[in-house]
């Protein structure tokens, strides 16, 4: 276990940033652990949710943004629902993911890749094209056979369209993506 030098490593700006972007006050957390206790993903996290909250309180930016935990959170809202301090924990996790992306620190590449494939599909077609997303994910992630075992089942039950349904307004959706990119450039 390494010693954390709180004098040097506390990133006060980070604490403020999380507070500002999430609209939540991490100092309200008194570390009861209820979020961790209820989190269905605790077993898969490198840092349980309550420790993520603690890491925010102590300004350990690098540790949090490079953690797997923030990406394995599925926003199931159990933590938010049960927090006795009324902190929207799931929303804070969302903000941490955004920050990790922004700073290029995403540890769970597969999940990010999946999300990116998902969003690409929306950008292209306006709606989610499930097969395309899966293929795109498999290609990008290098896990070529993810869920290929499901293929025959899905096919047999005629559950999926092989061709994407492109909506008429797909350019309008693409425009949302473009305008967002522009706004980023504008506001830095």
């Amino acid at each position: 276990m390494k010693t954390i030098n709180l004098t040097e490593s506390t990133d006060w700006n980070f604490i403020e940033e999380v507070k500002k972007e999430s609209g939540q006050d991490p100092s309200l957390c008194y570390q009861c652990g209820n979020c961790t206790a209820g989190c269905p993903y605790s077993n898969f996290f490198d840092y349980p949710v309550s420790q993520v909250m603690r890491l925010i309180q102590t300004g350990q930016k690098e540790t949090i943004l490079t953690s797997k935990a923030i990406w394995l959170c599925a926003t199931c809202e159990t933590c938010t629902t049960r927090c006795p301090c009324e902190i929207d924990v799931a929303h804070i996790m969302d903000v941490l993911r955004i920050m990790a992306r922004r700073e290029n620190k995403v540890s769970e590449k597969d999940i990010k890749t999946f999300y990116d494939s998902f969003l690409d599909s929306i950008k292209k077609f306006g709606r989610l094209y499930e097969v395309g997303t899966l293929i795109s994910y498999n290609l990008r992630s290098g896990h070529l056979f993810t869920d290929s075992d499901l293929g025959p089942k899905v096919l047999a039950h005629n559950k999926i369209h092989f061709l994407p349904k492109k909506i008429r307004g797909s350019e309008k959706v693409a425009k949302i993506f473009e305008r967002y990119q522009e706004s980023l450039k504008k506001h830095g």
Binding site: P40, Y41, A74, C76, R97, I98, E108, G126
Partner: protein
């Protein structure tokens, strides 16, 4: 009911892997006289992935649809998929709360959204707006063997601040609907426990383990079938059931139906109409054991007679041998 018109936003999943949810919802809405119209040219709500990019951006993807609905002059959208529902509710919440946020979102849109649309889950529309009385009235069939575990999933009614419907820990709306159509509902403790959600693709093992727990608790509660209200839950529990069996060494074989499909069975629709053929774990046994109300009544009377006879027999026997 007659006056109210809903926008019906089916969402992407209901066009693909969850097409049977879409089919059954439409059938039930028609059967119960819910007036709905699909917004033209709707697009994806943005779902979870968009929220990892930026909240304004995510809200914009959702608000594009809400704005289309607003332009149609409608104020309520019925949403079968909880992920879409939450995307709409979140966009609405932040846009209403924060004027600058709203402006930023509208900057990304062609058509401004003025926050005039309220999103309701299909479950909420049926439970609150249609009501249990109407739901019961339409019943034509009985499925005597079905014991269902109602599985709401994690975000159908959570967090309460956004969902504003039913209890976040022990929801009862689906229980009540299923009871109202004559189905036996099990006391299921894992109603709102997460199944693994959207991580099916990138984190298969994790999802399999979580889903396995949900299924085993349903079986523990005495259920022989699971009712769901979410396409992701359905996919994780049904489509992945064999994966689950492989990963966790279990031996599950329990059908997972959308609650609207079960309603359809009670309303006498054919398995084909309800898309029961899309289920991976077959629910055919329930179709086979299904009886019309009249048949069921006859059967019951016969059974009662049988019982009475037996009782009489016993009584006479007792009288004979005191």
């Amino acid at each position: 009911m007659a006056n109210k018109r809903y926008a019906y936003y089916s969402g992407c999943s209901l066009e693909g892997t969850a097409v049977e949810y879409d089919k059954s919802v439409r059938l039930i809405f028609d059967a119960l006289g819910v007036d709905y119209i699909e917004p033209e040219d709707w697009s994806c709500c943005g779902s979870t992935p968009a929220h990892t990019i930026d909240h304004v951006f995510a809200a914009a993807l959702a608000a594009r649809n809400l704005s289309i609905i607003e332009k149609m002059g409608l104020d309520t959208v019925a949403v079968p998929c909880p992920a879409c529902l939450m995307a709409f509710k979140k966009a609405q919440y932040f846009m209403e709360k924060d004027e600058t946020f709203k402006e930023k979102v509208n900057e990304l849109l062609d058509e401004k959204y003025n926050c005039g649309v309220y999103a309701k889950s299909t479950l909420q529309v049926l439970y609150e707006d249609v009501g249990l009385d109407e739901i019961t009235k339409r019943v034509t069939h009985v499925i005597p063997d079905m014991k269902v575990a109602p599985y709401y999933g994690c975000i159908t009614n959570r967090p309460p601040k956004l969902a504003q419907f039913d209890d976040p820990e022990n929801p009862i709306s689906m229980d009540k609907i299923l009871s109202a159509i004559g189905i036996e509902v099990c006391d299921f403790a894992f109603k709102v426990e997460c199944c693994g959600a959207a991580f099916g693709v990138p984190k298969k093992d994790m999802v399999n383990r979580l889903s396995a727990k949900v299924i085993s608790m349903a079986i523990e509660a005495g259920a022989n079938c699971i009712a769901v209200a979410c396409p992701l839950c359905q996919q994780n529990l049904d489509l992945r059931q064999e994966q689950i069996n492989k990963t966790t060494g279990s031996n599950f074989n329990i059908p997972v139906l959308y609650f609207t499909q079960i309603m359809g069975l009670a309303y006498g629709y054919s398995p084909k109409e309800l898309g029961l053929d899309k289920l991976i774990v077959s629910a055919d046994n329930f179709v086979h054991s299904r009886l019309t109300k009249e048949q069921h009544e006859l059967l019951k009377q016969e059974q009662e007679k049988g019982k009475k006879k037996e009782v009489k027999k016993q009584e006479t026997q007792e009288e004979e041998n005191p």
